[in-house]
């Protein structure tokens, strides 16, 4: 896994980053201009197939937005394949706890990394993002219930 300060950024433009962010369900309903500030704080993470992006048990306060490539989430109860533009590890920025799963890259690709501090600042200044977060969480709860039921 290589961080962008050592590589040329593939999406340096704020408008591009915002467009990619809006493809993620968490930010789909947030207006572009509201996401602009957040997009500027994103860090690009380039990875190769086989890279471990997240390790279960680690205490980290950031999430990943998968832009290109495929990753696999390995949990004790099974494996889940994730594709662009899924968000990985968002619970860590909402309620920091040890990671519950390991995430391994299956192909080459890249993601945006968003730190909790930047996420919190964005939430404070732009309540619209909180609305989207609530909507996404509600959707996630419904999906879990439907799977369980």
């Amino acid at each position: 896994m290589k961080e962008s300060d050592s590589l040329p950024q593939s999406h340096p433009l704020t408008v591009d980053r915002v467009a990619l962010l809006r493809r993620a369900s968490l930010f789909a309903t947030t207006p572009g201009r509201v996401l602009a500030g957040l997009a500027a704080r994103l860090e690009e993470v380039v990875f190769d197939a086989g890279d471990v992006l997240i390790t279960a048990g680690a205490v980290e306060e950031w999430l990943l937005i998968l832009v290109e490539g495929e990753v696999e989430v390995v949990r004790p109860d099974g494996r889940v394949r994730m594709r662009p533009v899924d968000i990985i590890g968002e619970l860590a920025v909402l309620d920091p706890h040890p990671r519950i799963a390991t995430v391994v890259a299956r192909t080459d690709g890249f993601a945006f990394r968003l730190d909790k501090q930047d996420f919190d600042e964005a939430l404070r200044l732009r309540p619209e993002i909180a609305t989207s977060v609530i909507t996404a969480l509600a959707r996630r709860i419904r999906e879990i219930r439907e799977l369980g039921g």
Binding site: P12, L13, T14, D16, A19, P31, G32, R33, L125
Partner: protein, 866 residues
């Protein structure tokens, strides 16, 4: 729709014929036998009989289907006319004409209650506005034909009274039409009303029911409107009959005049209804529909007075003017007033419509006629002539005109209630009588905290003298919820003359949340404010302990005082102010004028101290209730140079919030310009999407999804979404400050009646033109193309998409006229220009290379580097 209109118009035509064949013989025989001076007595009997009939119809309406009710009424009419005819023919009983003269003014409103209540069930509010004038047109057609026939054949029948037979035939025809309509629409017309919860209501309950209907401002306004309408119509009728009786002295010539004049009168009405009424109502709406009749009568009275003062009342000139005045009144009544009044009933909850309609139309008119009877008797006693009657009509018309505007305003407010399905407001629990007092004391002594709180609230709602003593006791309650509620209840009123409560509050002062809130109450409500309280409160507000700071702002929100304001403003400038700061500032809105004025002109970064302060002060003032600074702020929405961020700030703050417990309505006139501008933005952004399609289509194939086009499209969508949200908030601030979710649900159209009412609400709130624009912007059922069409149909010009689409988009990117005032849109459109036209892209990027907005400048630099 067509069959409904035809069947109802058939009923009104039959009603018109019935009335013509009733009034011509009845008036001619009555005036010949007793003269016009006896008419006021007939009017008094009409009043009494009318009230009884109304009560009877109302009672029957609660038990019978609409079709059953209408059939019963027509059968009763046929029976009365048949009996009177027999009395006249067999026993030469002229007194029977008195019964018929009384029956005539009763039968018209009762007939219209029967037809109108069917129409209300069969049409929604907008259909009603379009179709009801056509339905009503049947009445003057019937009356005109009947009058003409009566005038022509009266000489060959062998007696004026024989005309009554024709009326009986028409009555039976109407009965047949009512049954036919019921068979066509059984669900609407044959359904019996739901049984009352208590079948045998006591007299007190019945009185309460009637009073509760009357307590509704719209019912009261409509009743007043109908009384004045009925009184004016009756007075004009009296003037015509009185002058006609003086001019035509034998029954046959009088009957011929009544028949032919009635025919002319109703032909005029038909032409007006057919050619103008429906269009006028659709174009100018209910405001004109309600106001036109009194305004026209006012003018007619002035003309009558001019003729009366000039050539006197004895000649044909005055009779002609009186006839013209009556023609004006009847024409506008048939064409505009009846339809408009019928539409106002749509703004009432369904269970109130028939009682209100029966009360206003069934009883309102007879009461008016009774008042006219009493007035005319008084005028006869004072030996006043017919000119005095005209003066009375003039004054009544003036009052009627004012009441029409009151009725219209009340109608607009009621439409919102119908859509919200709110029928009753919660009432406070009242403590009256020993048993209730004992119950409250039992609550206060309960082991349950919630019961103790309820007891306190009951005392406060009732203004009990025990309140202060119980509040002081509750301030020491072991449960914090009870202590908190006690502070809530202590805060709103002054502490002057309440030493017990003041000492109780001073007794709990201290660095605890309750102690700090008590300090805030003492500062805000005690004229002899304790300096210790002020020190304690300011320390708490500045404290690092969040609970104390929150308690300080919560206390200030409930008991505002000028001495708190500078400290609250300091708190607002902090990076993380207490959560309740907005509510506390809003409570001080009246004092925020100078601060707002000075902050408004500063352009500050929202994350800076002054930026945070500005943001919070603006939001607090905009969201608070009525105040001078709020009005000033709303006026700023019309400023030409208002930036988009300030527009967002003010408009966003008008959205309903939990802390604005009683949001104040914003006058529509204040928001009109802003609303128009946002609608233009929606239209322009829709054109932008279309231009993007034209310039970019066909989209490049392959694996690339076209991120650049997606960016520009999203930016235009953002513009549309934001402008629509603003229109929704602005409309909501004017029509329904508690929220618009129910309005949008109604507009979605799952229930056509609700959708029609929602559209009507926009028109009554914002006027026809802006109402149509608002619906075009907000209607959730429209796709992009339909929305563009709807906006164009609503008369919105603005940006058009003619010419070269790439050049058009390049103009959006550079925005030379600051039309869009959106840096995000400029950057987004610039991002997609290289794909569409590298030349346009380069030119636009050169122009934007030094743009102050970092995202625009970054995008321009990227374009130039390519």
């Amino acid at each position: 729709m067509r069959s409904r209109t035809a069947l109802l118009a058939g009923q009104t035509t039959a009603l018109g014929l019935m009335m013509a064949f009733l009034v011509v013989p009845a008036s001619a025989l009555f005036l010949h036998a007793y003269g016009a001076s006896t008419l006021p007595w007939a009017y008094l009997v009409v009043a009494v009989a009318g009230v009884l009939t109304s009560a009877l119809v109302s009672r029957a309406g609660r038990r019978m289907s609409l079709a059953g009710l209408a059939s019963g009424l027509i059968s009763a009419y046929v029976a009365i006319v048949g009996a009177s005819w027999l009395a006249l023919v067999l026993w030469d009983a002229v007194w029977a004409t008195f019964v018929l003269v009384v029956l005539f003014p009763l039968a018209i409103p009762v007939g219209f209650v029967a037809v109108g209540s069917q129409a209300v069930r069969l049409f929604d509010v907008r259909e009603l506005k379009a179709q009801f004038p056509r339905v009503v047109a049947g009445f003057p057609i019937g009356f005109a034909v009947g009058g003409l026939v009566a005038g022509v054949i009266v000489g060959v029948l062998g007696g004026v009274e024989q005309l009554l037979i024709l009326g009986l035939v028409c009555g039976l025809a109407m009965l047949g039409l009512v049954r036919r309509t019921a068979r066509e629409f059984p669900a609407e017309l044959l359904a019996r009303p739901d049984p009352q919860p208590r079948a045998r209501a006591s007299a007190g309950v019945r009185r309460d029911r009637r009073t509760s209907v009357l307590r509704d401002p719209l019912v009261a306004a409509v009743l007043g409107y109908q009384v004045l309408s009925g009184a004016v119509t009756q007075l004009l009728d009296f003037v015509v009959w009185e002058r006609a009786a003086a001019t035509f002295t034998d029954p046959q010539s009088l009957a011929r005049f009544q028949g032919l004049y009635g025919s002319v009168l109703n032909l005029t009405s038909i032409l007006f209804v057919a050619l103008a009424a429906s269009w006028l109502l659709r174009t100018y709406g209910l405001r004109l529909g309600l106001a036109a009749n009194p305004a026209l009568v006012l003018v007619a009275c002035l003309a009558m007075l001019a003729v009366g003062q000039g050539s006197g009342v004895a000649g044909l000139g005055f009779l002609t003017m009186a006839c013209l005045a009556q023609v004006t009144d009847i024409t506008s009544t048939d064409g505009l007033t009846r339809g408009s009044v019928a539409a106002t009933y749509q703004a009432m909850p369904p269970e109130r419509r028939l009682p209100a309609q029966t009360l206003a139309e069934g009883a309102g008119t007879p009461v008016a006629i009774g008042l006219v009877g009493a007035l005319l008797l008084l005028m006869q006693a004072l030996d006043l002539d017919v000119i005095a009657v005209v003066w009375v009509v003039l004054v009544l018309s003036l009052v009627w005109l004012v009441l029409s505007l009151v009725t219209y305003r009340s109608y607009g407010r009621h439409l919102a209630d119908v859509l919200r399905h709110r029928t009753w407001d919660p009432r406070a629990l009242r403590v009256e009588g020993e048993a209730a007092e004992e119950m409250v004391h039992r609550l206060l002594g309960s082991a349950e905290a919630s019961a103790r709180t309820t007891g306190l609230e009951a005392l406060a709602d009732s203004g009990s003298p025990d309140l202060d003593r119980e509040l002081v006791r509750a301030l020491g309650d072991p449960d914090p919820r009870v202590r908190s509620r006690a502070l809530d209840l202590a805060a709103p009123e002054s502490l002057a003359g309440r030493p017990l409560l003041r000492d109780g509050l001073a007794g709990i002062l201290g660095p605890t949340p309750e102690g700090v809130r008590a300090a805030a109450i003492l500062i805000g409500r005690d004229p002899d404010v304790d300096p210790h309280a002020l020190g304690l409160w300011t320390d708490a507000l500045a404290s690092a302990d969040g609970a104390l700071a929150e308690a300080a702002v919560a206390g200030a929100a409930m008991a505002p005082h000028p001495s708190q304001l500078p400290h609250l403003l300091d708190a607002a400038a902090r990076p993380s102010p207490p959560l309740g700061i907005l509510e506390a500032l809003a409570a001080h809105a009246d004092m925020l004028g100078p601060t707002l004025t000075s902050l408004w002109v500063t352009t500050a970064d929202p994350s800076s101290e002054s930026g945070r302060q500005r943001d919070l002060v603006v939001r607090a003032v905009a969201g608070a209730g009525r105040s001078r600074p709020r009005r000033w702020l709303l006026d700023c929405l019309d400023e030409v140079g208002l930036s988009r961020s300030d527009l967002r700030l003010v408009v966003g703050s008008l959205a309903p919030t939990s802390w604005a417990r009683q949001p104040a309505t914003v006058p529509a006139s204040v928001l009109a310009g802003c609303l128009d501008a946002e609608a233009v933005r929606v239209h322009a952004a829709l054109v932008g999407l279309d231009q993007l399609q034209s310039a970019g289509a066909p989209r490049p194939g392959g694996s690339d999804p076209g991120l650049d086009l997606e960016i520009a499209e999203s930016a235009f969508r953002d513009e549309i979404d934001e402008a629509r949200r603003h229109v929704e908030i602005l409309f909501g601030a004017s029509a329904c400050p508690r929220g618009t979710a129910w309005f949008l649900r109604a507009l979605e159209g799952s229930e056509p009646q609700l959708r029609a009412t929602a559209i009507e609400l926009t028109e009554t709130t914002l006027g026809r033109h802006r109402g149509a624009i608002t619906v075009a912007v907000l209607d959730p059922t429209l796709d992009d193309a339909s929305r563009v069409d709807a906006l164009a149909a609503a008369g919105l010009g603005g940006t058009t998409g003619t010419g070269d689409p790439v050049a058009w988009l390049a103009d959006v990117a550079t925005d030379p006229g600051h039309t869009w005032d959106s840096a995000w849109l400029r950057a987004s459109v610039l991002r997609c220009l290289p794909r569409l036209s590298p030349a346009h892209a380069s030119r636009a990027a050169l122009a934007l290379a030094d743009d102050p907005d970092p995202v625009v400048a970054q995008t321009a630099a990227w374009v130039l580097r390519r």
